[in-house]
Subunit: 380 residues, 2 copies
């Protein structure tokens, strides 16, 4: 199953595994998926008692390339200062796994991949999945790797939702859980922003009801608009002002037209256009849907504390002052629920002005907290 | 020029005037507009010394139908509890004017109207205009009505920008100015949200570079997405949660599809679709552009206080606690700038949880403040 990465510049592998052939993946919708692929990367070495595995969970548009060069974009992975030798998630100590989530488009089964039953891409025939389904697929990978318990599950944003889902649905298999800049349920405003993105994609005639693979021309304009709208929510008003303000783009004065006069317009357009090259529009629909469906209290009558009752998991919960997408308030609600059932939890609100995306940025305080939290637990 | 409204249910008129035939409207871009139409409504009676006129300025998607039935939508005007006999802007005392702004689509010259030089709609041949240009057009209407000084200029959101522009550019002609839930310059985040809307419209193939009037099929999907994105910014996270939360729309459980499972999705889709019936896509481009260009300090080297130096105008500035589009912080900056030059200013932050749109809603505190401020000045 394993194959050395060609031209690998880091210590990772290209890894892919086909699962669910005998025991299908049971989905929240009631359906099943069989077989399905999981594409993942790993770094470091699994120790002999398999007690040093850390699962890193990615956000909406992330992938398994948390570290090292992403072969699709040619750019560095999305958590370069977090994972590596001597870094907070120290690959000299830990065996680190990052899977491309179910429904995504970087090798794991999703709408872009071939449905072996029809020999064409799934498109909208791919089942609508949930965060719990993403986690169920990860559990099957962890089983395949013969790891009983993960030393830690860690992730930001949607990654944090997976962390919480692991802690709630598979508490015996998680020693520590680190959700960052995340939430326990998608709010009306969160859903609203996602719905705008989906409508932008589906309004694009090139979406063709999800069968754009037939005509080689996807909903680029729609996906680009979706990304632009979402990108605003990832930054704070202050960071946009600090970065761009009302600065003009390569011009001395206003042009009295609809070109990108302002730097912030030019920047947003670039965010939209470059996103189209690396992300599948249908995957965007599926993953935003999974996030909107996320409410970890739903199976517990809306009682968040009940979801965590008797949990053996140790939590470290982080949020950022300027994150208005998943606010500190939402992290506090998780902390309160954990406290109510006597769970072990530490929590920090980090003063950082760059908004939701802070978890992806150079944030020494976050790095220190994670390094310290993991080291303390490893020392026990 | 004046004609009694057919089926009029209120005390208003259908009023329209063609201006600029001899003296063209001088635009900020350096161009001119000649001739141009202003559609407006008025209520109450102008007194003999013409000292009781109040100009009401509308927001981005507003129109002249601030009061009474809007003949296009069949619905009530947008400020029904603000303007009328015995209401805060008391039509028993004041002569109240509301103009459809330049560039809009409810009778005033804009991209939808016929360019008399070509006998077809302007489309993108309409000049790109600014808030200052909207106000210059209003000045010409006020001249036409032979009113030397307005007793008050009042408006929320983009209406507030016009109020500030009146106070700065035409301070001798304004006795009091009441900008509500507004700002002195469009921020990077404000521009970013507008740019998403414009890109959504221009990405729609039916936009046809603004010449959709030729094929009778406008960019409905794109305009709808633009409205959806904007609408989220008009409400607070709390009000969306209070109104919709994660409630499902006419169903008992999640459908695992891309229909509007959630009420907030259904609501947003409705906001988008119904907007298309009443608003012109090109006008949306022009007016958002005018707002993005708005920075009342720009002509004063970025020094906001300088813009108000020696102003005789008396200001009453209001903001709402939950407004994250034009925050109280921005109103405070205006107040500080006015204080720095010794201007007469009172300001209030109103505790209201409904977000930016609070100024359009039933807000007794706002009504009381405006009634009191106007009465105090009228008593002098």
């Amino acid at each position: 199953m394993k194959e050395k990465e060609k031209n690998a510049k880091d210590d990772g592998f290209v890894e892919e595994v086909t699962l669910g052939e005998i025991h299908p993946l049971q989905l929240s919708s009631g359906g099943t998926l069989s077989p399905f692929k999981i594409a993942y990367k790993s770094w470091g070495k699994l120790n002999s008692d398999k007690s040093n595995a850390i699962l890193v969970c990615h956000a909406l548009t992330g992938d398994q390339y948390a570290r090292g060069k992403n072969p699709l974009t040619g750019k560095d992975g999305w958590w370069p200062k977090m994972i590596g030798p001597g870094l907070p998630i120290d690959t000299n100590k830990y065996f680190v796994i990052c899977t491309n989530v179910l429904g995504s488009c970087s090798g794991t089964s999703g709408p872009k991949e071939i449905n072996t039953k029809t020999n064409e891409p799934y498109g909208l025939d791919f089942p609508v999945i949930t965060i719990a389904d993403m986690v169920s697929a990860q559990v099957m990978l962890v089983n395949y790797l013969k790891i009983d318990q993960l030393f830690s599950v860690i992730g930001g944003s949607m990654g944090g939702m997976q962390v919480l889902q692991w802690a709630v649905n598979h508490s015996a298999r998680v020693r520590t859980a680190i959700p960052i800049a995340s939430t326990w349920r998608h709010s009306a405003q969160n859903i609203a922003f996602h719905e705008v993105g989906r409508q932008a994609i589906m309004a694009d005639p090139n979406w063709s009801k999800g069968r754009y693979f037939e005509n080689d021309n996807g909903p680029h304009a729609g996906l680009s608009v979706a990304r632009m709208a979402a990108h605003i929510t990832y930054m704070s008003e202050r960071s946009l002002t600090a970065k761009f303000g009302r600065n003009l783009q390569d011009r001395e004065k206003l042009t009295f037209g609809f070109d990108a006069d302002f730097q912030v317009e030019s920047y947003l357009r670039y965010q939209g256009i470059s996103f189209v090259d690396r992300f599948d529009a249908n995957s965007y629909l599926y993953i935003t849907r999974a996030m909107d469906y996320f409410d970890i209290s739903a199976d517990y009558g809306g009682n968040l504390s009940k979801a965590f009752e008797n949990t053996p998991v140790k939590f470290c919960i982080m949020s950022f002052t300027s994150d208005w997408l998943y606010t500190t308030q939402e992290s506090r609600e998780i902390v309160r629920a954990l406290n109510a059932v006597g769970a072990q939890v530490s929590s920090v609100e980090i003063d950082m002005e760059k908004g939701h995306d802070s978890f992806l940025l150079d944030c020494p305080e976050m790095f220190n907290i994670i390094a310290g939290f993991l080291a303390a637990e490893a020392g026990k």
